[in-house]
Amino acid sequence: MVNPIYIFITSLGAAFLLNLFQKINRKIADLIFFLTLAVINYISLFWFYQLLQGYEAAKIYTAGFLPPYSINLYLGIEEAVFLVLINLLGFFSAVYLYKKFREISIKAMILYLVLIMGLNGLVMTRDLFNLFVFLEITSITTYALISLEDNKYSLTAGFKFIIAGGLVSTLFLIGTIYLYRLGGSLNLDFLVNSGVLNTKAGILATFLLVFALLIELKPFPANGWALDVYQSVHPGIAAIIASASSAAIFFVIYKFIPLMPSSFLPLLAGIGGVTFVFSNLMGLKQTDARRLLGYSSIAQMGLLLAALALIMQFDNLQSLSSIIVIIGGLFINHFLAKAGLFWLAGIVQKRNIRSWKIIANNPPLLLVFGGFILALIGLPPFPGFWAKWELVMQLSANNMMVWVWIILAGSLLEAVYLFRWFGYAVKNTEVEEIRTEAAQYLPVLIFLLGLLYLGMEGTHLVSGADSIYVLPVLLGVILYVLNWLPNKLKGSLCLLAVIYFSYRLLPALQDIYQLFGVVFLIGSAVLLITTFARKDIFKGFYPLLIIMILSLGNLLQAKTSLQFFLSWEFITITSYLLILRGKFSLKAALIYITFSLAGAYLILAGMGLAFRDTGVVSLAGLASIVNSGYIYVLLGLGFLIKIGIVGFHVWLPGAYTEAEDDFTPFLSAVLSKMGIFGLIMLAILLGEPVLKGIQLNYILGWLGVLTAFFGALLAAFQEDIKKLLAYSSLGQLGYIVLALAIHSHLGWVTSIYLTFTHLLFKGILFVAVAGLLSRVKTRKMYEMGGLINNMPLTFISVLIAIIALSGVPPLSGFGGKWLLYSSLLEKGWYLQAGLAFFASTIAFLYCYRILHSVFLGQPKTALRDVKEPSVWYIVPQYLFLFGIMAISMYPNLILKPVMSAVSTYFASSIYWEDYTVISSLGYWNGNAVMMVTMGVFMIPLLWLLFRIKAVTKVKQFNIVYAAERPDRPETTHYAHNFFAHYQKALGFLARPKVTEFWGNIAEVIHSVGALFRQLYTGNGQTYAIHILIFLLISYFILGVK
């Protein structure tokens, strides 16, 4: 047993001696410095381990007298956790700072040691005045260490800090002395029940004490000085301030909670919440990386404070593990990630977040950066994710929905600026290299690994989690390590993994889930073949892809809402990162992730509500909820955003267009279906909920058909082939949602049938476009033309896909249309049917446009020698093509399983007679249609073939052209603004109103952020006034009686 008091003794002893040893030999001094840090780490780790084993907490009575007569220290498990973290950070930060320390002066090391010791003291001491002494020790060392970077910025910041610190210590001391006067003791444990709170003066004293500490946590708006400090000090020191100091102060506030009157807690929560939201809001406009980190730090501490204060108010807390997950998760997450990011800021050496693009030259650093960003935002697999999940669940269970919204809103704002920053970093255009040294590099890496490890550990702590759902990440990591393998091999490994996973998963799934399994996994497997065509080095592509695909599978087998949400988030992140890989996808990816996260947060809130109502996290439990309207709306909206329903579709075209060409097929053919799956799952569980007398499915139906309409209309006006297909996808998803909303046997059959056919033809189209773009370096359709002769194979598959898409018999698309109208009429949704029909005729416009502008018409001179794309683009197309032809010929191949799957939930309303499907209204014999069509096609064809000898092939310009020979294909190929007249007639419907709307919202939010940050004038005195205002407002809000 090592007495924890030795933490102080060793560090102080070393601090006293360093100066002496330095005179003998600097190396010895350095060695002692690190040895000391190692020793205090050892002591804290030793105690942490002991306490985990169930040993009694260490109670240290100094001077040999029992409290309250002497100062005592306490080291329980909570203290041990904080000590371990602080000391570990202390050690690694020292490693990181070592070079700087060496350059400057041994004094920096002395100050540093004393700072770490002071933080340890803050955590352990139980005596108020002793706490004050340690507080001052940490403050003074920090004041001095701020000048590690000896420039006017850090020194002005330091001075502002001192002024704030001076005020804080004054307030703290006044509080302390009056508590002593009224409570008769300086010992925390003896003050708790001493009756100090019976008097107004006692409450005031407590208030001063707590709020002085609170100001050290930098609450909004009393935090201008802190931002300046974060911005200007050496990143190594900033990491200590942001993580270690904040941690210690946070722990002190935690220690004080028993002392506080219960009325403090709501106020603390409120301050935390306001700080969290406002800091993130103001962070939006920030361009200086370190100041941005400052905003983020402050926000995170606000969140932590709010979470703590809220948890303490819960009437019924489910279990201790919840507290550990929430507070521990949030805390460790912030602690490691923020320190890591500050270090990274020091390595990158760039102030402006736009200049961070140089990090892209250094893949390991980029990986680390990405990891920290994800962790900070609270995404899996990092601890913050579990914490936020549990927090939302517990808040909901305690009927604090307002808080759920506050936290989610703040998180979203934070995600926006962090992802924006990350986006800049990914887009590399510079050749500048980052100089890294192992000493700086190592701590960062270790912290990321720590985060990952703790995140994985989270699965054991949170109820409803299962480590299987984190396994894809492991596979991703393995693939990342195997990056040196040839691409095709990696691709094959992926393919094998997906196939094996399907082989294991699909038989285990039931009815509709199984069908979606086929869509997700088999669809992905086919699309994976496309990626074999890649030639360049592409770190991270396959790892991300495999995580995404396997998580899609996991989505289907999720038993609890947490498993579902976890997989959902994995897919969201990986797809975001994959989209971000596109060359110009910066903005599109940001919009994508913003909307996706907003959707995910809605889902989270919905699941929280469900948890409140059922008390369990199992998905099946949803079915037992009586009043499920709100949950349906929240979850449904989340899913709809992912689908890109009209009004929330602004992310979709950009993301589809700017993603890498061979990833877009995944987005459209596979990923878009996860929202559909979510909606179906919701409908299975909740049925047809009604909210305030409104049949929600009715609204859903209209949303679906409007999406179909606007998707088709907007697609008709695009010049960019990928954007066109993106809008087309949107429109098709609209039909699927419409059919789903019908909520009948026929409706669901339609919906799933459409899902399958959409996978097939959109798979073909996007793969074909990927192949096309691999040969033609433009996406503008009017710059192509006449490519039918260059790439006949692609043309044939596109032709078939387009015919299938447009719903023209005899191909499979017609089946979907027929089912759709039958089900709509059966339901009695006539107007929807009419609009759907209109939309489907508009679809012809863009269908023709693709074929004509790209493959027909006048070939361009520049593209004359373009060849068929690589075989890897062709194979998946033809696999899908085979599917289309099979389904067209024998629709029962797919319809029968779909019908039987759906009949688990509804009585079947259609029946079969041989190949004829008969609904209550009409009938359709796909096989006969195919036969007749082939017949009537063959007769004239035979006649023309009979005349083929008379046919002469002519050259490009040999056309009837009013006696003049057109000179250039550019002027002869009618392709640009193809539907000008349509635009004239209906263009007003296609104006980007929704985009403008969301743009305005973003603008307003940014402006508000910009407005609020005007508070931070840069004047140290004003900051002191802010502190005073903060204090007074808090006090008067509290209304001490």
């Binding site: 039918i788 209109f838 004509h852 009409g922 359709w924």
Partner: protein
């Protein structure tokens, strides 16, 4: 292939043959009538027959590519198919064609098959006028399909079926059972749509004889053109038969069919066509989406309230 199938095919060929003859004759008659209205003498009634024979007999053909070659095939296949999916004469086995393959939606969608194929063929010709015509045609099509589809939905609601045979069956007995009397709004909407479908004035901008000689088929000649002309007869009559079935009680024999289709054609398309000037594309789109669409909506609303 069993005997049932063979009989089916035989019947279909017979039905198609007769209807082709009538279609060509109808076109000839209409040309004559229009000419007379214009104050011209006009070609003889059998001119369409002559044209087809002449064009198919031409010795040389030019091809711009495979799709160009296949375009007319798509077009005529669609014409024939459309016709063959409609039960032409109520109660007749010969003229029930292949109507067991699908209901009215199949017919509506099969029309697009030819339009798409033809448009693609025309597109490959490389002649700018072809895609211009296609662009106009497609745009206009989306518009006139709106009142038409609304009318069809209204019918489906009214008769509670999508099967053409059953719709015709419901109209038997009295002239007052015809849809045009039981559901006049739907009929009006659909008939206005028919004007657009037939591409006569005022909706003739697709072919636009004045400024872009003949629209999508610009580059087509000889046997291709012959095929297109044949199709024009079959397709035209197919649409008329469809309308007859949906709104005018269908036909129980060939004579009734001839009479009804003739009258429908004359009194809707031709009469209106000669009396009006031409719309620009965006004008016709706006037109269809205003009153005809509104009438169609009303038709649905009235029917569904009943």
């Amino acid at each position: 292939m069993n005997s049932v199938t063979l009989i089916l095919i035989g019947n279909a060929i017979l039905s198609l043959f007769l209807i082709t003859i009538w279609g060509l004759t109808l076109n000839g008659m209409v040309m004559k009538i229009v000419a007379r209205v214009h104050g011209r003498f006009g070609p003889p009634v059998w001119q369409p027959f002559l044209d087809i024979i002449k064009n198919n007999a031409k010795r040389t053909m030019i091809a711009h590519g495979t799709m160009f070659f296949l375009g007319p095939v798509f077009r005529i296949a669609s014409g024939i198919g459309t016709y063959l999916f409609i039960p032409a004469i109520f109660g007749s086995t010969v003229f029930s064609n292949f109507s067991f393959s699908g209901d009215v939606f199949l017919v509506m969608y099969f029309i697009f098959f030819g339009q798409l194929g033809m448009a693609l063929g025309a597109g490959e010709s490389g002649h700018p006028y072809s895609p211009i015509g296609v662009s106009r045609g497609l745009a206009q099509m989306t518009a006139f399909e709106v009142p038409f589809s609304l009318a069809v939905i209204s019918l489906a609601v009214q008769y509670n079926t999508l099967s053409i045979t059953e719709i015709v069956a419901a109209q038997q007995g009295s002239i007052l059972n015809w849809t045009i009397f039981t559901n006049p709004l739907a009929a009006i909407a659909a008939l206005i749509a028919l004007l657009g479908m037939n591409m006569h004035n005022p909706f003739s901008i697709v072919i636009a004889p004045q400024e872009i000689p003949i629209g999508p088929p610009t580059e087509y000649h000889s046997a291709y053109l012959g095929m297109l002309q044949t199709n024009r007869a079959i397709f035209n009559i197919a649409k008329l038969v469809l309308y007859m079935n949906l709104f005018f009680g269908g036909a129980t024999n060939f004579i009734t069919l001839i009479l009804k289709t003739f009258l429908i054609y004359i009194f809707t398309s031709v009469a209106v066509g000669v009396a009006f000037p031409r719309f620009r594309t965006e004008q016709s789109i706006r037109f269809f989406l205003k009153y005809p669409a509104l009438i169609g909506l009303l038709a649905i609303i009235i029917v569904s309230i009943k």
